[in-house]
């Protein structure tokens, strides 16, 4: 999300949890002063429906503190020290700035909270009270931490914000708790999310070349793939929404949409100059190209990734990137010579024989079809039960022969009391 704020200044830094620092020293005039840039940032937050708290100060640490204790405050230039004076002592906890306390080298002699609690103990309540304490005394009491805090409360903490180069893909997804058939509602929901992606695009100084959508239907695992391709690269949400509306009109929504994944394929506003040392084509690019080709041919591709799940269709997935698989095993804890075993009760499932062709969507069998099958055993070969805490699922699996002699993998859904074909051996 920080990318969206790149439009205020290219010098931007993001820090967990949820802090964005923007160096506006060189862009303030461009936006008409600090008041307008603050307003612009607030408007941008609101348009993106972000709950933000903003403040402007000479130093990132002061700005962070003000955003907590005096939101929307603009500290006059060179007056950070004065600005901090009336704040409660707990404000010291928020003087981190670009680097969090946990990553700050100086915070090793003492814990900031311990310092605050000590000041409280001796009756000092505001930052102004402790500003009077001489620097040497801070050092004496709390070493480097004290020295650093002294600098921060006296506005002498210089932190530089570097330019930010975004790398993340412009992907988003939307899940509906109640599946959607109404196109207008679908469009309305997508519009808001799309605006966020476009804001990110704007921050990057890029345009949308293509918009790809992957819609998952509620039933039978039906999916739709849509691609919106404007005549010229654009950031105009209206244009993109119009094109999207046309595309959506072409699909059948009687099987309601439950989830949408969408991605913007960006193109630079201007030609980027390649780094001399950067290889022109990487292996990853080749794989992505290949995947792109396969996708154009409507072939879903990826690496088969095993998963520790109970139900067969959930125990693997296609992954775009290759990842090592570490199966769940019994946990053996050793304490000297003694040991403790925490069992993984269903670890055997990953080696259970599964059909060579597993249907992506199990096919419900009619009673007529069922009568034509010859079940190889009266008892189920396997009983799988799962997710009783959400939607209970229970299946009895059987092997059955079709009239053509095919060996089928059938299950009886114990909740629905229906039979399904799940695969062929």
């Amino acid at each position: 999300m920080a990318e969206a704020f790149l439009q205020l200044s290219p010098q931007l830094q993001y820090r967990d949890p949820g802090f964005i620092f923007v160096d506006i020293s060189s862009t303030t005039r461009l936006f008409g002063g600090e008041v307008s840039i603050l307003k612009r940032a607030r408007d941008l937050s609101q348009s993106l429906q972000l709950e933000t708290s903003l403040a402007i100060a000479d130093h990132p640490s002061t700005a962070q503190t003000l955003s907590v204790y005096q939101p929307s405050y603009i500290s006059p230039p060179n007056r950070d020290s004065e600005t901090l004076k009336p704040l409660p002592l707990a404000a010291l906890n928020h003087l981190e700035g670009l680097i969090s306390w946990s990553s700050t080298a100086e915070v090793q002699d003492a814990d900031i909270r311990e310092i605050v609690s000590f000041f409280n103990l001796v009756g000092l309540r505001q930052v102004g009270d402790v500003q009077k304490i001489p620097r040497e005394s801070w050092h004496q009491q709390w070493g480097k931490t004290g020295e650093m805090l002294w600098r921060k409360i006296h506005g002498q903490d210089q932190q530089l914000i570097s330019p930010y180069l975004p790398q993340e893909t412009l992907l988003d997804s939307l899940h509906f708790d109640f599946s959607v058939s109404l196109r207008s509602f679908l469009l309305h929901s997508l519009e808001k999310r799309l605006q966020i992606l476009l804001a990110r695009l704007q921050g990057r100084g890029q345009l949308a070349q293509k918009l790809r959508l992957h819609l998952h239907c509620e039933y039978s695992q039906q999916q739709h793939f849509l691609e919106v391709h404007p005549a010229l690269p654009t950031r105009d949400s209206e244009v993109l929404m119009k094109l999207l509306e046309h595309k959506l009109a072409s699909i059948e929504t009687s099987n309601p949409i439950q989830q949408v994944e969408f991605e913007i394929l960006p193109v630079a506003e201007r030609v980027e100059q390649l780094d001399f040392w950067q290889p022109r084509i990487k292996d990853q690019d080749r794989i992505k190209d290949l995947q792109g080709l396969l996708r154009q041919a409507e072939i879903n591709s990826g690496f088969v990734q095993l998963k520790d799940e109970i139900l067969p269709e959930e125990s693997w997935q296609l992954s775009f990137d290759f990842m090592d698989y570490e199966p769940l095993e019994d946990q053996v804890h050793i304490d000297g010579q003694s040991f403790q075993i925490k069992p993984v009760h269903s670890q055997h499932l990953r080696s259970a024989p599964r059909p060579s062709l597993l249907l992506p969507t199990p096919k419900a069998l009619s009673s007529k079809e069922l009568r034509q099958l010859e079940f190889l055993s009266a008892q189920p070969t396997e009983r799988l039960e799962e997710s009783w805490w959400e939607i209970s699922r229970g299946r009895d699996y059987y092997l059955a022969l079709s009239s053509k002699g095919e060996c089928l993998w059938i299950y009886h859904d114990r909740i629905e009391d229906r039979y399904y074909l799940h695969g062929y051996y």
Partner: protein, 1052 residues
């Protein structure tokens, strides 16, 4: 159930014994209690069940008790099931895990096998941490005789060969069919092994629960074990709910290709000829002087004790009691037990450790003359059968309280005397209580910790009922506040209820010891406890009682410490020799104080309920105290005994008896049953119960009362007995209801009398030496009902001056300095005792400290400890305010290797910048440092602020406090402010809540009805300083309390 019973009848030829039962004593790896497993197996028509919990025999006694439950009160309708229970075989066993994932279950074939199993488990558990095991197959080389081994897959050929060499035809491979490919693979492998190596196979269900409905709970337990949520648990969970006890019809169908494997379960069971009933407890032979045997030595001790207790010689009645008891003790061969206890008490006496026996032992004259108990048989009627009964065939149960501070010395003496192989402590099974269970279930359901905290806070002290009873709109509001769905909430409630009472781990019983003649591990597995060098047996006190094993309870009682410390202080500071035996009886000043309910700090009668009863009961003699101690119990309260007793005692209603035979039993309590013994006597006298049956009734009243069939049987016995005695049906029902009303809990008279002795002693000390008493009480904390803050405020109000902490004068304990009490260092929170002892030793050796720097240099404390000291105000002697002292210590260089150690900092501008401490800040600091302030009370500081506020509350606040409300008439509206001192919601009070609040003038009581409590529950839970509006309710006895209508926090 009828259907299941029907199926048994349809398949009478299918004999089956489940050989691998598992209960929740496999700690998070089993989801049913031993009782549920047994009951289910019996109801399904199994011939037996082996309980094979992991690495222990924790649940076998409970399963045994359930399997062979036999009560005098079993109703005829249950005859069939009890007959079935008689033929049911409960097999003892344990499953021992191997490091590679396989495991071996061992079933003892006879007593010798059982001994080997206990020794083996002890060997693998005793050196290991909780939950860990040291088991490896080689250990079986020494312990395999007389044991049957069931090898569980996955099988390793080397291991199988080893097991085969050790167990020969006593080795079986266990197979199960749980509708998984894995069980098919194991089966295939097993059939191969059977074919090629001739190994024997046997069928099992490998049940982790008694019924399939427990699968969700089992999954939650698995999540707890792995510390993951259900969504994260994946294949850690069981893939289906097949691992439960199934009907025989299903089993037969499941194994129709190999019915022999089902039949083999019975063959194995038939090879086993061992029951826990065979365990014969042998008490260790007591060391007796030459020329004596146990019997003659005990007689000699009793003779000498009789002369000591009755210097003028015992009365004929007492002598006859002694003779009767001795005859029974000798007949039951309990002499060694009594000698052992006498020996332990002798040790305590020699070490000047105060002790006193209590419980049913106080019914025995022999215990009295041996000095184990202190209740004179001439003071109350003793019911010896309550202590030892021939019919009951159970060992006597003697509880002895020692000074809590010094109990460890007694425990060490027992360990030293008998050795760790022959003495171990009884375990306590720590079970999941509501909040703990709710946390585990919530975490499994993926509810985040913050929300769990909110839910727990909403529960308050009422537990789940607070959540369940929420109305729809409140519930919806709460659900959105907690961020959980209705489904999650329902699951949370259901699973928490199921998990409640499940064992979590073993703890040490507060003082129960088992001592045996033969090594203890021959009888029960012993394992390490969380305390260093402490070992516990795998059974709790009920288990031991079931198997008729003797235990001795050496308990700690804070009041005994306080009394002993009082006596020592009196001797040292007031030159007054006093002891429990020499406290003047029937002292009027003491009884006057008790009648006025000025009993804060007094043993047993200091609770709000007790204090409110005292002015109504107006105790005048020792026996009144015995009644007072016994009457404020759930039993008499629920049975509605309190008000009739008081009315009859004051002659406000006539005393009448349902039957003339009841008169001798109930006359001393005005026809109202108050003591357990009276209930037993009623059952013997008018219901035809034998003394043994009467005792069983007592045990039923406290434990198995909820068993519906037993209740029905008991009712029939009681009513029929009374009808036969000519009591009319109407009266019989009334007596039955009285007994039922008494069921929850009631004191035996002997026990109440033991406690009343301490009540009187502590009251006497408070009345005559309040400074000494409060000093001793504070030095025995934590104990009792009230915090040091309340005790000190109470003492200050009764004129005892207190001197503040001072590094130049204070000792570790509170001490008497002239007429005042000097606060001791023990009052400071979080200060290590060793540091304090070092400071005091330094001061004694080298004299007073000349300055702060001198103190720091001499005692070498870490900075944090010095700051605790400064914060408490103990450094005022150096002319430093607490804040200045804190600043100075914070600035000091206290790195020992530094040349600048303790040198004052170069820059000392800090202290001048520190603001002056206000009265509120000073009080706040003292509360943080030690939990109270000697100089001011928070309400004292806040009161002027509230008196100046506008609004309706102003008028009622002006001038009204804990003292002034006593002069107000009933019904007058008033608003009071106070600091919460106690909060009680007794289960017997039908939802009413009782608060005690404290202001600068004293304590006042507040009553909240259930609706008001529900409304202001959150405020009460979150705020100690409260403003309560309501109206006064005063009683003719002088009792006044505030009936609350509105509660609000005093501070925003």
């Amino acid at each position: 159930m009828d259907i299941i019973k029907g199926s048994v009848l349809d398949y009478p030829e299918t004999p089956y014994v489940e050989l691998l039962g598992r209960s929740y004593f496999s700690f998070l790896q089993g989801a049913s209690s031993p009782e549920e497993m047994v009951l289910q197996a019996q109801e399904l028509g199994y011939r037996g069940l082996a309980l094979c919990d992991l690495n222990g025999l924790y649940g076998v006694v409970r399963a045994h008790r359930q399997a062979h439950h036999n009560s005098s009160f079993t109703s005829p309708s249950d005859f069939a099931s009890s007959a079935q229970a008689k033929s049911f075989q409960l097999i003892v066993g344990s499953e021992l895990k191997l490091k590679d994932g396989g495991s071996v279950a061992l079933l003892p074939m006879n007593r010798e096998g059982y001994t080997r199993l206990c020794q083996l488990i002890t060997q693998v558990q005793r050196p290991s941490q909780k939950g860990f095991s040291l088991f490896h197959l080689e250990l079986l080389a020494q312990h395999s005789d007389d044991l049957i081994a069931l090898a569980l897959p996955p099988w390793n050929m080397d291991e199988l060969k080893f097991l085969h060499q050790q167990f020969h035809d006593r080795l079986y491979l266990a197979l199960w069919r749980d509708l998984s490919w894995q069980s098919r693979q194991f089966e295939h492998q097993a059939f191969e092994l059977e074919r090629h190596l001739g190994l024997q196979l046997v069928a099992t269900q490998r049940p982790f629960m008694h019924e399939a409905q427990r699968k969700p709970l089992f999954d939650v337990l698995t999540c707890s074990l792995h510390r993951v949520s259900l969504a994260e648990a994946k294949t850690r969970l069981l893939h289906n709910s097949e691992r439960h006890l199934k009907p025989l019809r299903q089993l037969k169908q499941l194994w129709q290709d190999r019915p022999d494997l089902l039949e083999r379960t019975l063959e194995i069971a038939q090879r086993i000829c061992f029951s826990l009933d065979e365990l014969k407890y042998q008490y260790p032979k007591a060391a007796v002087p030459p020329g004596f045997n146990s019997s003659s030595y005990l007689r000699d001790l009793v003779r000498r004790g009789t002369l000591w207790r009755f210097p003028q010689g015992p009365t004929a009645a007492v002598q006859s009691l002694i003779d009767k008891e001795m005859a029974l003790i000798e007949e039951l061969q309990y002499e060694d037990y009594f000698i052992t206890l006498w020996d332990i008490c002798q040790f305590a006496r020699k070490q000047s450790i105060l002790f006193q026996g209590r419980g049913s032992a106080a019914n025995s004259v022999v215990c009295y003359v041996l000095g184990l108990t202190a209740v004179n048989p001439e003071q109350i009627d003793l019911l010896f059968e309550r202590f030892i009964s021939r019919e009951r065939g159970e060992p006597p149960d003697i509880d002895i309280d020692f000074e809590s501070d010094r109990r460890e010395e007694v425990l060490q003496y027992v360990y030293k005397k008998y050795g760790a192989d022959h003495a171990a402590m009884v375990c306590t099974v720590i079970c999941f209580r509501t909040k703990m269970a709710l946390r585990e279930v919530a975490l499994a359901l993926g509810i985040d910790l913050k929300s769990v905290g909110k839910i727990v806070q909403s529960m308050g002290k009422e537990g789940l009922s607070a959540l369940v009873q929420m109305n729809e709109s409140n519930l919806q509001l709460s659900l959105s506040n907690w961020g959980i769905t209705q489904t999650q909430f329902q699951l949370l409630i259901d699973l928490t209820r199921q998990m409640y009472g499940f064992p979590r781990h073993l703890g040490i019983h507060t003082g129960g010891f088992v001592i045996t003649q033969r090594p203890l591990s021959e009888c029960v597995p012993v394992e390490k406890s969380s305390m260093v060098d402490r070992y516990v047996v795998q059974w709790n006190k009920d288990d031991l009682e079931s198997l008729k094993m003797m235990k001795i309870d050496l308990l700690g009682l804070g009041m005994l410490s306080a009394l002993n410390k009082s006596f020592a202080l009196l001797k040292e500071k007031r030159n007054c020799s006093l002891s429990l035996a020499t406290i003047p009886p029937d002292d009027s000043k003491t009884y006057k104080m008790i009648q006025q309910a000025q009993t804060v700090g007094v043993f047993q009668i200091e609770s709000r309920a007790q204090m409110s009863l005292l002015p109504r009961l107006l105790p005048k003699c020792f026996y009144d105290l015995v009644v007072e101690v016994a009457i404020v119990r759930p039993g008499p309260i629920q049975g509605g005994m309190v008000h009739p007793y008081i009315r009859r005692r004051h002659g406000l209603e006539p005393v009448h008896y349902a039957h003339p035979d009841l008169k001798p039993i109930l006359s001393k309590t005005y026809g109202v049953p108050i003591f357990q013994e009276q209930i037993m006597q009623i059952a013997s006298t008018v219901c035809g119960f034998t003394p043994g049956e009467a005792d069983e009734l007592r045990r039923l009243m406290s434990s198995s009362w909820k068993d519906a069939s037993l209740m029905q049987g008991l009712r029939q016995r009681l009513i029929n007995g009374m009808l036969q005695h000519g009591i009319q049906m109407e009266f019989a029902e009334q007596v039955y209801k009285t007994i039922v009303g008494f069921s929850s809990y009631g004191f035996p008279e002997s026990h109440a009398a033991s406690f009343a002795l301490l009540t009187y002693a502590s009251s006497y000390l408070k009345a005559h030496h309040p400074d000494v008493f409060v000093c001793a009480l504070l030095n025995s904390q934590p104990m009792g009902f009230y915090s040091p803050r309340v005790l000190i405020a109470e003492a200050q109000r009764s004129g005892v001056p207190f001197l503040p902490l001072d590094v130049q004068h204070s000792d570790y304990d509170y001490a008497l300095e002239g007429p005042a009490v000097r606060v001791g260092f023990r009052a400071i929170y979080g200060l290590n005792k060793k540091f304090i002892q070092q400071l005091i030793a330094n001061r004694q050796r080298h004299g007073p400290f000349s300055s702060l720097e001198n103190l720091v240099e001499r005692i070498h404390w870490p900075k944090s400890a010095l700051m605790h000291l400064a914060s408490s105000g103990a450094l005022a002697c150096f002319g430093l305010s607490p804040r200045a002292a804190l600043w100075k210590i914070r600035s000091m260089n206290l790195e020992r290797e530094s040349f600048f150690y303790t040198q004052s900092p170069v820059y000392e501008q800090g202290p001048d910048l520190l603001p002056q401490e206000s009265e509120w800040e000073s009080m706040h600091r003292e509360y943080r440092a030690q939990g109270y302030s000697l100089s001011s009370h928070p309400i004292q500081i806040l009161r002027p602020h509230f008196q100046s506020t506008k609004g309706s509350a102003r008028h009622s606040l002006q001038g009204h406090n804990s003292l002034s409300i006593k002069k107000l008439r009933s019904g007058q509206p008033v608003t009071l402010i106070g600091l919460l001192a106690s909060y009680q919601k007794p289960p017997t009070a039908k939802g009413f809540v009782f608060l005690t609040l404290e202001d600068e003038f004293g304590l006042f009581n507040v009553v909240l009805n259930p609706q008001i409590h529900l409304r202001f529950r959150q405020t009460l839970n979150a705020n100690p300083l409260l403003k309560i509006s309501g109206c006064i309710e005063s009683h003719s006895s002088g009792l006044t309390h505030l009936k609350a209508k509105e509660v609000s926090p005093l501070l925003p």
